[in-house]
């Protein structure tokens, strides 16, 4: 059974601001700002972006060291499956996070767990 797709025009903002030139100019401002920040960070002498053990891998390392490699494999697989399944599990039309307590709790638990394992992995 295919769910009915909600009607969206893609340009739903009838009372919004014009894309040309207002929004485009502001978007370009953001582009220059981000590029500028990265260029300035890169010019701060011979400083590596982040030192090893790299913060993005530390969570996985923490799970491997703290529990077992197979645990890290399971957690990563379940996490990806959960993210893929999320729109089909959370069928409510309510966008506000406080009215989707279960899913918000799951995500908060995952973030808390990841921070804990990241600390362990360092």
């Amino acid at each position: 059974m295919i769910d009915e797709v909600e009607e969206t025009s893609g340009n739903e903002a009838e009372d919004g601001r014009p894309f040309l030139p207002n929004h485009l100019v502001e978007e370009l401002g953001v582009v220059f700002l981000v590029t500028g920040v990265i260029l300035v960070l890169a010019s701060l002498g011979r400083v590596e972006a982040l030192r090893m053990p790299h913060i993005f891998f530390a969570g996985t390392l923490g799970m491997m060291r703290g529990v077992a490699p197979w645990f890290a494999t399971i957690v990563l697989m379940v996490l990806v499956i959960f993210l893929v399944a999320l729109p089909f599990l959370d069928k409510s039309e309510e966008p506000h996070p406080l009215k989707r307590k279960l899913f918000v709790l799951i995500i908060l638990a995952v973030i808390a767990m990841w921070i804990a394992f990241t600390i362990m992995g360092f």
């Binding site: 739903e12 903002a13 894309f19 953001v30 990265i38 491997m64 490699p69 399971i74 993210l83 966008p95």
Partner: protein
């Protein structure tokens, strides 16, 4: 003097006329007219410039910077573990050459490194924002699914990028990845049934648990050819869906 001035203004006018005619010719032949008209009439919701709604765009800027600096770095990088002197592979030597000898090499490598970190952080925050505002709900499920794929690709980019460094960090990343793949085999109860899968995946992606030529060549191919191509196609799909469904509403 006045004659000279009128000659210059005439030249500018003729150049302007050539530009206008060229532009009109391209628009009429390419059928861009409708798209331009639609863009001119398009309105954007006021919350679109909220920093939390700009994170996808920031990720894109970082990705473009990564692509540009990556093209530069790849023209000097050699994915080979053949040692030219004791304990120094060609890959490592080529990185040293980029940093020490190539004009602006160190700076470009540094921009690549910072842009990668910015991209990972902003894509994670973007995912959290999409979750927080419930933007994955009907009718944007497919946009979310493609986004999850892009998130996985981002971490694959990060992993393979680290492997290419061919130093202590890449050894650590390869070992971690290898342990993750072998983790399938070590799963309690059902692990034995998937031993073939972990062996196959390890052979395909790593070849051996220490960084060797097989690993570097595979990682280089994935990092510079396979992933960029697939990411580009998927990214276009992501943009198409965002354009079709529009920016999701604020809370």
């Amino acid at each position: 003097m006045a004659e000279e001035r009128s000659r210059v203004s005439g030249l500018i006018f003729r150049m302007g006329s050539i530009f206008t005619r060229s532009r009109d010719w391209i628009i009429s032949r390419s059928g861009l007219e409708e798209m331009i008209k639609e863009t001119e009439e398009k309105k954007v919701p006021k919350h679109a410039l909220n920093p939390m709604f700009c994170l996808g765009g920031v990720t894109l800027v970082a990705l473009i910077l990564l692509g540009l600096t990556g093209l530069f770095l790849d023209s000097y990088y050699e994915p080979s573990d053949v040692e030219e002197m004791t304990d120094v592979s060609r890959a490592k030597l080529s990185i040293q050459r980029i940093v020490n000898e190539v004009p602006f090499g160190f700076y470009v490598k540094s921009v690549h490194s910072w842009a990668a970190n910015v991209m990972v952080i902003t894509i994670l925050l973007h995912t959290l924002r999409v979750f927080a505002t419930g933007s994955y709900k009907n009718p944007r499920e497919l946009t979310w699914l493609i986004g999850v794929l892009l998130l996985v690709f981002t971490f694959t980019f990060l992993t393979t990028g680290y492997v290419l460094l061919d130093d202590a960090r890449s050894q650590s990343v390869v070992t971690t990845f290898s342990d993750l793949i072998y983790g399938i085999r070590d799963l309690p109860v059902i692990g034995g049934a998937f031993e073939w899968l972990s062996a196959w995946a390890n052979d395909l992606f790593i070849g051996s648990p220490i960084t060797g030529e097989g690993v570097l060549v595979r990682a280089h191919w994935i990092h510079t050819t396979a992933l960029p191509l697939v990411t580009l196609v998927i990214l276009l799909g992501h943009f198409y869906l965002i354009r079709k469904h529009g920016i999701s509403g604020p809370l």
